[in-house]
């Protein structure tokens, strides 16, 4: 048993193996933002309703606010920072820009990660499937139409 306090853990974040000490009562979201400076992932409702904190854990999208960091020991994490490579935006990011899907931008990292998970299991979704795939991500700017268009455009650009 680990006493209240810190635990050493190792996980892979965006392809890089990281070993660090985390507080047992800190969430995955806390550790990503405050210890690894990956501030793309956002904290908002902190109860699993809004999806701003969405990251992928072993390929599945999760609310990182509802998961203790220690639960991710040994896992592979993907955050929004991992979507771009060599300074080039990923297809989803580019499509979000092209379609004007980012307004205030706060929800966008979560939207992108849910969209990433959706396209991984369904490379050419219908409009309804995009709506279902992003049902756990709220946008207070109400940019849903542009977000949906962006996901469809990204799917098309990748599969063309």
């Amino acid at each position: 048993m680990i006493p209240a306090g810190a635990l050493a853990m190792t996980f892979t974040v965006n392809g890089t193996v990281r070993t660090l000490e985390v507080a047992t009562h800190h969430t995955l979201l806390d550790v990503l933002r405050d210890q690894l400076d990956l501030t793309g992932t956002k904290e908002c409702c902190a109860e699993g309703e809004c999806g701003a904190c969405t990251v992928l854990v072993d390929g599945r999208s999760v609310n990182s606010c509802l998961m203790l960091a220690v639960e991710a020991d040994g896992s592979e994490i993907a955050t929004v920072e991992g979507l771009a490579s060599d300074g080039e935006l990923g297809p989803l990011q580019q499509a979000f820009l092209d379609k004007g899907a980012a307004q205030c931008g706060f929800c966008i990292p979560g939207q992108l990660m849910s969209a990433q998970a959706l396209l991984a299991r369904n490379p050419l979704p219908t409009v309804d499937e995009v709506h279902d795939g992003l049902v756990g991500n709220l946008c207070r700017c109400a940019g849903y139409q542009q977000i949906t268009e962006a996901v469809l455009a990204a799917a098309e650009s990748v599969n063309r």
Binding site: A4, L7, E47, G48, S61, L66, V70, E71, V135, G136
Partner: protein
Amino acid sequence: MSPFQYARPDTVAEAQTLLAEFGSEASLLAGGTDLLVDLRGRRVQPRVVVDLKRVAELTSGIEEADGALRISATSVMTDLTEDERVRHYYPALVEAAAVVGSIQIRNRATLAGNVCNASPAADTVPALLVYGAEVTLTSLSATRRLPLDDFLVGPGETVLEAGEMVTAINLPIPSRPAGATFARVTRRRGVDLATISLSCLVDSDGTTTFAYGAVAPRPFLVRDHSGVLADRGADERDREAALREMTSYASPITDIRASAEYRQAMLDVMSRRALDKAIDRLAAA
């Protein structure tokens, strides 16, 4: 969140030893989608959080054994909706598991957690009830298996005793054709608790079973043994009366999601639709 000790046992026995040692000051962590919200809100402040996700006996997933499908305590909603056997035998459960929270929630939330949290509005419970689910409970001294109907007591309350934990949910494999469905009313499409929920199962022996959620202190079962509900050719007034008797056992309350009157009215409407769909499914089975 207040600090706590964290334990990651490898066996059920180790987890139970911790439960015995810490009693009510231990919180079990399976999916965490309810627990983390309560921890952050300081509604629970355990001395130790016991993470069950690496317990060998609880990570066996979904297995067929002794005429039942055994769903281990760490199986999440996405595991259920993706499993071919669950999809084949228990379509109403798949329909329920597919609308729990959001995709992110379904990737973490466990079936056992949904049952143990004992919310009157727990999405999966009506479907589990009509399929005759049983709950396996173990402590250091004993293991017992109870019908889910006998496990639930009231809001947030089950028959779990100190030192006991749920290790699996068991679903009997149907021995004859049946048609079943799940339905619910919510205010919006995703991430909402049920205003009402229900499951209907029409058995080929003529029995019709309903389970209703969010209209009583706990989800509950009602049955029509007369065969009148399952028979579309029966007198329409008799069928209407039988259906009203089913929904008359509900005791809905008024809260932020709906008034008691709206819940009762929707229960009648949705029961009728669910019955029709279940009969169609039985005919297609």
